[in-house]
Amino acid sequence: MPAARRPKLAVWKFASCDGCQLTILDCEDELLALADAVEIAYFPEARRGQIRGPYDLSLVEGSVTTPHDRERIQAVRRASKKLVTIGACATAGGIQALRNFADVRAFAAAVYASPQYIETLSASTAIARHVPVDFELRGCPIDKTQLLDVMTAFLYGRKPNVPAHSVCLDCKREGNLCVMVAHGTACLGPVTQTGCGVLCPSHNRGCYGCFGPKETPNTAALAAWLRRLGLGDGEIMRLYRTFNADADAFRDESRRHGP
């Protein structure tokens, strides 16, 4: 082990399913080596103890949905030299951002026995809406290999190797039959960022957008194609409005097809 001080890693949770931070523990072959290379200073899902900041790298999972969390993210930013958001909740508000398209009080009244016990904000928002973010790692959930690459990049001062092109491009490289052209299956592959390993088209299923919009997506052109496949406005709206519903390109396109 090097004599030099090991960089300090912190993992923070906001509103989320825990699946992205679980991805760290799913690095079964690398976890113990990672724990040798960095000091896992704060990670309540994995350890009781806590080592004080500042932290060299903070990974932030989840979206901001409560007044308390709106304050807490400021403290996390202050304690972090570099801050990387992990997953669709932290980078685009997550599935819980569907509240952003509804009246949150009506939402709460439909779900809660006593909504007055619960403090909640009217919108679920990405971390970057609140504090400067050094890098946003996409995915619902994130990809393990990309996570290891980004951690290494930030801890050793290089640029992350995370492509921003579409699923469509990698699907062609895989030699997959196009599910949209061949089967008439609705697919978000042309407008979605790659990273999952083109999972859905490889399983005869249309991409449903886990990694959010690719760079410069033409969502309107895809919507026109979807309409030619027979999809109505409601279906197109729902397709764009799932786990990355509050990502700009998907949100704006979904609004063209519904309330």
């Binding site: 825990d18 999952c196 399983h203």
Partner: protein, 435 residues
């Protein structure tokens, strides 16, 4: 003079999600034990309204990154009940195989990374690896086998993409499953070693007379199907759940607490499944249980770690059996009829216990109402009862040690707080013509 003392655990570590504990002591007696779940609620039942029934498996899987398959399974069974179809044969077997993967992954995570450090005096598995590296590495590799099943059959470990109402998008070839069979041979041996390892831990001599609740199937250890039964005589179809179970809203937590027929808290999860279905386990798993010192019924919540290890062993054997008998079905899913106004109920055995879903569908297949009751919510009352009963004998300990003892008592349950939190809802809904 009444001496009062308050123990607070501000943020429970090594559990999934955000929770805290408040214990208050009056005159050397535990006055109140409150598990406070402050995980921000995410409104799943509300956001499901207006979505198409086919979206429920993927949307509800996002409730929990550790047990997404459980949500997918309860959702597909509920939707298939609403539509009046059944996925049988090899499709049914593949669902069971997927669930085996999740049980192995989730239980092994809990055994090695979350709970074992409590028994061995470490604050994390990473610290534990300094003294017991071989054991921790075995745990990580065993967990990986569970994740490999999820990846081969589901596409990925967290939020698999291959599950749909009616079956799968694509079914694997026998050749694709074959490497899993080889890995499972190693995993079965590792699971036996795990049972012996955890059976050697030092367990406090504490037990309670729980009412156990789990599914029971005519000839299988339960995963996807069965009657809901209890150790006090409950024996109902899944569709009758709402007539017997009710949730209460208490102000200090973001999760409702479940009650069964107006009685005190009940217990779902591995201890309950095991006690109610011991006779459904293969003889050599039963024998391993006896050798590990838990017999057919285990009422000591600390020994839940042994029962989890036995369920991992069972899941390895069962997965191996399913793969050996696998023939690729002609269609990846059963044909689905046109939707109609209907209600569907589904309950399956998540790693942490019974997970209940109920949906109302409109004529076009849109979800009009949804209700989801996860196991941690059901166990919340039982966790508090454990603390009230057990903590009384720990009061001589200094605060730091008492806090650690209480935390460990909560971790017995492998609580999944992200799951528990989404489900707050109106109790008065029940009186307003539910059904």
């Amino acid at each position: 003079m009444a001496r009062s003392r308050t123990i607070e655990v501000g943020y429970l570590a090594r559990v999934e999600g955000e929770g805290a504990l408040h214990l208050s002591v009056r005159s050397d007696r535990v006055d109140r034990a409150e598990l406070r779940i402050f995980e921000p609620p995410r409104f799943f039942e509300a956001l499901l309204r207006g979505r198409h029934y086919s979206e429920a498996p993927d949307i509800t899987s996002r409730i929990c990154g550790i047990c997404p398959v459980a949500y997918q399974m309860s959702a597909v069974h509920a939707m298939e009940a609403a539509l009046g179809v059944t996925a049988g044969g090899q499709l049914r077997a593949l669902r069971r195989l997927l669930y085996c993967g999740e049980w192995i992954e989730s239980h092994t995570l809990h055994i090695y990374l979350l709970q074992a450090p409590d028994f061995l005096g470490a604050e994390s598995a990473i610290e534990l690896a300094r003294t017991q590296r071989a054991a921790v590495e075995r745990g990580l590799q065993l967990k990986k086998v569970g994740n490999e099943i999820l990846r081969v059959l589901g596409g990925r470990e967290v939020h698999p993409i291959n599950v749909k109402v009616g079956g799968f998008y694509r079914v694997p070839t026998p050749q694709e499953l074959k490497p899993l069979a080889e890995r499972l041979d190693w995993a079965e041996a590792a699971a036996r070693d795990t049972v012996s390892w955890v059976a050697g831990f030092d367990f406090p001599d504490l037990s309670r007379d729980y009412e156990f609740v789990a599914l029971r199937h005519p000839n299988e250890y339960p995963m996807n199907e069965g009657q809901i039964v209890s150790s006090r005589g409950l024996d109902i179809a899944v569709a009758e759940y709402d007539q017997h179970f009710a949730e209460q809203h208490v102000p200090y937590t973001h999760a409702l607490q479940s009650r069964l027929d107006g009685r005190s808290g009940y217990l779902a999860g591995p201890l309950a499944r095991f006690a109610l279905n011991f006779d459904r386990l293969p003889a050599d798993v039963q024998q391993a249980a006896r050798a590990a010192g838990v017999g057919a019924v285990c009422r000591n919540p600390y020994q839940g770690i042994i029962v989890r290890a036995l369920e991992v062993l069972y899941a390895c054997i069962e997965a191996r059996r399913i793969i050996a008998a696998y023939e690729r079905p002609a269609e990846p899913a059963v044909a689905l009829p046109a939707p109609r106004p209907s209600v569907g109920h589904g309950a399956t055995e998540a790693p942490r216990g019974l997970l209940y879903h109920r949906y109302e569908l409109d004529a076009d297949g849109t979800i009009a109402a949804a209700n989801i009751v996860p196991p941690t919510a059901q166990n919340q009352a039982s966790i508090e009862e454990d603390l009230r009963e057990f903590a009384g004998s720990w009061l001589a300990l200094p605060d730091a040690q008492l806090r650690l003892r209480c935390e460990a008592a909560i971790r017995n349950y492998d609580p999944c707080i992200s799951c528990a939190t989404h489900f707050l809802r109106l109790t008065v809904d029940r009186g307003a013509g539910d059904g």
